[in-house]
């Protein structure tokens, strides 16, 4: 069993505020790992450290075998990343986006052409390959962005709320794409606000106030908290009894 992501006591402070407080976990190769938490719990800060965009204050993390503090460039070359907010260039066509990202990832022209053809074929985007990305429906943009993030066959792919606002059928198709890349050995690190999607992960962690408050397979986590659904677990961790806000009481 190969470890794709290895996080030890990872911490990040901003002034006196500790955004991420000594989190530790590992994710094995080919695993689908759901990284959950409330808004402001520290998820984004943690992801920025894992993709080599933000230096940790203390602790270590290795992603795809590279240390995020000392080998951030190597980390970035061996991962894929997509989010709902930033994915593709809207003004470029489908094919132009593939060529652009292929170049950024250092693929050869023939690799870009072959993998681009394969990607367009798999997504059945043949008729749209010369359309500007902005003309595609959101669900298709997201499927395309995921495929582009996989162009260089990264060891680990980070998906930050990839399905927000996507229709319920396309959302499920997106998860089938996730399963497919995971079965081929790519490690998938995904955040979502849909707790039904958290059930699709091999394991999940739930962050609360900068710390990991729960981790394990969804069934284990539910069992440990004596909850029927992950929604219940989440509610219990984020709003423990006694500190409920007035409107939730």
């Amino acid at each position: 069993m190969t470890t794709a992501i290895d996080v030890r006591n990872l911490t990040r402070r901003f002034g006196s505020f500790t955004a991420v407080e000594s989190i530790s976990f590992d994710v094995r190769q080919g695993e689908v790992f759901g990284f959950l938490g409330a808004n402001g719990a520290g998820k984004t800060t943690a992801i920025k450290m894992l993709i080599g965009l933000l230096a940790p204050t203390s602790g270590q993390a290795r992603v795809a075998g590279f240390d995020v503090s000392t080998n951030a460039d190597d980390v970035r070359r061996h991962i894929g990343y997509m989010s709902q907010r930033f994915s593709l260039y809207e003004d470029l066509t489908v094919r132009e986006n593939i060529t652009l990202y292929g170049g950024i990832y250092g693929l050869t022209d023939s690799e870009i052409r072959d993998r681009g053809d394969a990607l367009i074929g798999t997504l059945q985007l043949g008729r749209s390959s010369d359309e500007r990305v902005e003309s595609l429906p959101l669900g298709w943009k997201q499927k395309l962005a995921f495929s582009v993030a996989m162009l260089h066959e990264p060891a680990v792919v980070f998906l930050d709320e990839p399905t927000g606002g996507v229709d319920p059928i396309t959302r499920r198709q997106f998860w089938e794409m996730i399963y497919t890349v995971a079965e081929r050995g790519t490690t998938v690190f995904v955040t979502t606000h849909y707790l039904d999607e958290a059930e699709y992960c091999d394991r999940i962690s739930i962050m609360v106030d900068g710390r990991i408050a729960a981790m394990g397979a969804p069934a284990e986590v539910k069992q440990r908290f004596g909850a029927a659904t992950l929604d219940e677990v989440f509610l219990g961790l984020v709003r423990p009894a006694g500190v409920q806000t007035p409107q939730s009481a």
Partner: protein
């Protein structure tokens, strides 16, 4: 002013046959529904369904190509100035002044409508009480949940007669979403009619009635339970040891109509509407056991709004727009 006399007997919001295009894109196609007095009405559909276009028409910021709509009995095209002062609108994007403080934003919105925070106090109190401790903080420095509450206060401070909320819970975590809906429930008790849009199917059950919308068309309008009850096929929740394989095997089953993962289960709908449920359950168990699955659980279930939405939308959106 005769309009007002007529208005009193009307639903606070009526939309009749509204269509709107942007060049070759059909944003709204023959949309009709009404929001009744005191009703919390949800417009439920994915991004790109036309929800924001409809909100912009109903708040008089955009004119429909065809069809009519009345808000508080006033026509959205002819009576735009009269409508604007009487509705509250919270747009999907955060649209407050990030460099002004919480209190300054609220004062500004109150003054635009010729009122003051004190005059609007009664209606905003349940929400404003939670953010008042931060009234001197810059709006841009608030957390997501607090920004949302401030935006709601700004939409309410002039005591509107109807409230329009465009995707207030997008990008918001599950707990904050639940709290926001609790707030809407409290507001509804004051009798304020509310039209709220969302891409989260699970939020439909918090509404009195919903309109399901996809690609500019209304798929259904009714109470959430009534929409779910019209689901046409036998529906079963299936669980087995290997979910991804289970989905594929169920799709290969000769009587499968649709197979979708739902949390830790898979929802299977059977194409045979006349077959007895007990028989379907027994046959499916036999099929799955024969396919090598263990830990198989099969149970008949009632459809939810998300099942109904997927059934009604039929096909996911195509990548290529159909030739108009």
């Amino acid at each position: 002013m005769t309009d007002h006399a007529v208005a009193s007997s009307r639903a606070p919001l009526e939309v009749r046959g509204v269509s709107r295009r942007f060049e070759d894109t059909v944003a709204l196609s023959d949309v009709s529904f009404a929001v009744n007095a005191g009703e919390l009405f949800g417009l439920v559909g994915p991004d790109g369904a036309g929800k924001t276009t409809l909100f912009r028409i109903l708040t008089t910021l955009l004119v429909p190509d065809s069809g009519t709509a009345t808000v508080l009995g006033l026509d959205v095209v002819r009576d735009l100035w009269a409508i604007r002062s009487r509705v509250g609108y919270m747009p999907g994007r955060f649209s407050l002044y990030p460099d002004l403080s919480v209190e300054e934003n609220l004062s500004f919105f109150a003054s635009v409508f010729g009122t003051s925070i004190d005059e609007g106090r009664a209606i905003i109190a349940p929400i404003y009480d939670q953010i008042e401790p931060f009234k001197d903080r810059r709006a841009g420095a608030l957390s997501g949940g607090m920004k949302q509450k401030l935006a709601l206060c700004c939409a309410l401070v002039h005591r509107p007669e109807i409230l329009f909320l465009d995707e207030p819970t997008t990008g918001v975590d599950a707990v904050s979403r639940r709290e926001f809906w609790d707030l809407l429930g409290a507001l509804k008790k004051s009798g304020l009619p509310i039209l709220v849009s969302t891409a989260y199917m699970d939020e439909a059950t918090r509404c009195d009635r919903v309109g399901l919308i996809q690609r500019g068309r209304i798929l259904a309008v009714d109470a959430p339970a009534a929409i779910a009850a019209r689901y046409p096929n036998p529906l079963l929740a299936v669980h087995a040891n290997e979910r991804h394989k289970l989905i594929q095997s169920l799709r290969d089953y000769q009587h499968a109509k649709s197979v979708y993962p739902f949390g830790d289960e898979v929802h299977y709908s059977d194409a045979r509407t006349a077959r007895a449920m007990d028989d379907i359950v027994a046959e499916l168990r036999t099929y799955l056991a024969g396919s090598g699955f263990t830990d198989v659980r099969v149970k008949p279930i009632s459809a939810g709004v998300e099942d109904a939405f997927m059934e009604l939308m039929g096909q996911p959106e195509a990548a290529v727009k159909a030739a108009a």
